[in-house]
């Protein structure tokens, strides 16, 4: 290898100059009017998944309002911890917005032995987006048309009964139901809801706790029958689905989505973000879109959102204890 120092440096210099011409991007615009740069939405689930669809919808709507590119960055993993940590550590300049289920971020504080950040302190809620309940469903072939019928049958079956869950939400809902109703059913866990359908059909499973997107889609197909929802009050999205509470099993488990930013983001930016999302969520189009996901629009001020966030974190502490869920290492 012939090494000529002078020409080497010359080449490096040339390379640097060329490389500089390539990637020159506008400098950090802290002194300019917000937003003066592209905005990034962080999505904690993989591209194309149900959640990703929701994030992209809002990205598109925001783009129309602020006339800036809104990039969706997928940072999946560890039930959202990776994305949460990423956002908590990003610059609090309003250009990184975490669009995700704040309830899940809250739950992770207790689901994990060592959560990567203290979400209550590191993340701020700028705006809430929607509220979705979980659902209790049975096979369409089963004879149970109400929760009462199901409960009676399950009591009879005792330890021979089985039910499906596919997420911590489902597990918690299942536990509350079991305890209040005094059942001994065995929980069967699945990686995702569709995996459990075959067994629900063949009768190996008696009932299941499912997320709303899946439940509604399958009910439309006539492949499951939803008996009740887990929210405290009936939702406008599904007004004829009774709540577990009114059927005698008190619970108020809702997943709620929010736009979140790092905690030290200035109030002016937080309020701006709140303004944008409120504007988007208020529209009829968004309402219909959110309804199709089985949820209702949910509008709150940043302060109210933050208070709810802290409350949810506490609640999940209770849930984990009650459902005897072993925090993941």
């Amino acid at each position: 290898m012939r090494f000529k120092p002078r020409s080497f440096l010359h080449s490096i210099g040339l390379a640097m100059a060329l490389a500089a011409a390539l990637g020159a991007v506008p400098r950090a615009a802290s002194a300019q009017e917000y937003p003066s740069q592209d905005i990034r939405f962080v999505c904690a689930l993989p591209p194309g998944s149900g959640a990703d669809v929701l994030v992209r919808y809002f990205a598109e709507k925001l783009r129309l309002i602020v006339n800036r590119t809104v990039i969706v960055e997928n940072k999946p993993g560890a039930l959202g911890n990776i994305a949460t940590e990423y956002v908590a550590r990003s610059k609090p300049d309003g250009y990184t917005i975490y669009v995700h289920a704040a309830s899940a971020v809250a739950a992770n504080q207790h689901l994990f032995k060592k959560p990567p950040v203290d979400a209550g302190k590191a993340i701020q809620i700028a705006a809430t987006i929607n509220q979705q309940p979980f659902m209790l469903a049975v096979s369409p072939k089963s004879p149970y048309k109400t929760v009462a019928e199901l409960t009676a049958a399950m009591k009879q079956k005792g330890a021979k009964a089985s039910y499906a869950t596919a997420s911590p939400n489902g597990t918690v809902m299942g536990e509350i139901y079991k305890r209040t109703a005094g059942l001994q059913a065995v929980e069967v866990t699945y990686k995702n809801s569709p995996d459990s359908l075959n067994e629900l059909f063949s009768g190996k499973l008696d009932y299941g706790m499912y997320d709303p997107v899946f439940s509604l889609a399958q009910q439309r197909e006539g492949r499951i029958r939803i008996l009740a929802v887990s929210s405290g009050k009936r939702l406008e999205a599904n007004p004829d689905l009774p709540t577990m509470t009114e059927l005698g099993i008190p619970m108020d488990l809702t997943g709620w989505w929010a736009a979140m930013l790092p905690a030290s983001t200035p109030k002016s930016i937080i309020d701006k973000v709140n303004q944008w999302f409120t504007q988007i969520v208020k529209t009829d189009e968004t309402r219909k879109f959110l309804n199709s996901f089985g949820g209702d629009p949910f509008i709150n001020s940043p302060e109210a959102g933050q208070a709810l966030f802290e409350k949810t974190i506490k609640e999940w502490g209770e849930y984990i204890r009650m459902a005897k869920i072993e925090p993941r290492g």
Partner: protein
Amino acid sequence: MGFDFIQNLAIGFSAAASFKHLGFALIGCLLGTLIGVLPGIGPIPTIAMLLPITFRLSPLASLIMLAAIYYGAQYGGSTTSILVNIPGETSSIVTCIDGYQMARQGRASVALAVAALGSFFAGCVSTVFVAALGPPLAAIAQQFNSPDYFSLMVLGLVTAVVLAHGSLIKAVGMVLVGLLFGLVGTDVNSGVARYTFGISELWDGIDFLPLVIGMFGIVEIIRNLEQPTLPRAPVGTKFRDLWPSKKDFQESWRAVLRGTGLGSILGILPGGGAVLASFASYTLEKKVAKDPTRFGMGVIEGVAGPESANNAAAQTSFIPLLTLGLPSNAVMALMMGAMMIQGIQPGSAVMYKRPDLFWGMVASMWIGNAMLLVINLPLVGLWVRLLTVPYRLLYPAILLFCVIGVYATNANVVQLVLTAVFAVFGYILLKLGCEPAPMVLGFILGPLMEENLRRSLVISRGDPMVFIERPISAVLLAITLAVIALIILPQFRKAREEAFQE
């Protein structure tokens, strides 16, 4: 039924064959192929990257384009498997085994052409499957319960051993090691994290891409760099050399047929069916061949069969999505997401409420396949010419694309560290004569197998007889035993011969 079917296809073709839609199919195929061809980037990252482009289009147009991107990326992935031994996704791994060897023998264009033609044939046949047998096939897939999936995975794992052309016992070892690596991450049945060493990024397990790129792509580059002179693939310049000979066709048409059949059936099974298609086809070809020892050295059946199986499975894997609204693999999940963004709820309702959408998609599958053939056959010459670029310029480019591919899929430095780790691991294994392909299959199927095993036992409350009581499971286990016998018997015969010789 026959008349309905033709009528439906007519609706579909008229919807899909408008200039606009043909145009989108073409763009999709081109984009998909070009991105898929970049080493390290297979169908899933490609579709994910190009998904936003489809948002502004009408539902049918976006579906057509997405499907075209998918086939294009699959084909592009096969191209890289053949040319540089880097699989873009699971099904391309098998193509690497013999396809790359063919390329090293200067028969890259033949391999590429056979892959294209085989895939086209398989695509046509399986499209008919989808159109005619969609719903009844989906009904069968719905019968699969956890014990059946378990047995299917066991069968898959046993066939994994056949992938190796070297020592059988080391291949078994590799499959087991792959199984162990597959366990890294959260255990579905209990929520406990296994072998994660506290690293958040390992919580969901080891990503497929870093493992495969490290053990296949990077190791290959290093291997080439160790040679005293850098590789230079001999390339036939006459068109006659670029096109498969009559002999090639004779050797491969049966493999194509078998692959198509296998792939069409396996693709329908949600959760893992399509992955098995190319592996199963390779196993079948090896078992059926008169001289199985040729496999691994550049045998055309080793490309024709798996590629056809691959494509057939890719087509039929749309069935659960279109008829039941259930995605059978990650790509279908992406498609489903795309449909939902467009406001379509995938499921049987689509067939009745929007027949133009459903049948239009089916028709566009055929159109997409045809287009791919048209685009790619001429491109074969281009790819082969790419091989003539001096290796010293080529391999940094390959390395860069691999690395970008990994990072673009999951933007985390840990992924790249993993890639490096697997490169080193793969290198060590290379030196010790262990093959990576069986390990990768163990890695993919292992966790599924364990998950279903434990779930079956929870549901049956600990009764192991459930695996034999269920008919599907029993049949699959019986086939597994048969395959094991087929594998072991020749070994005994060989050992006896060796013993006699001594």
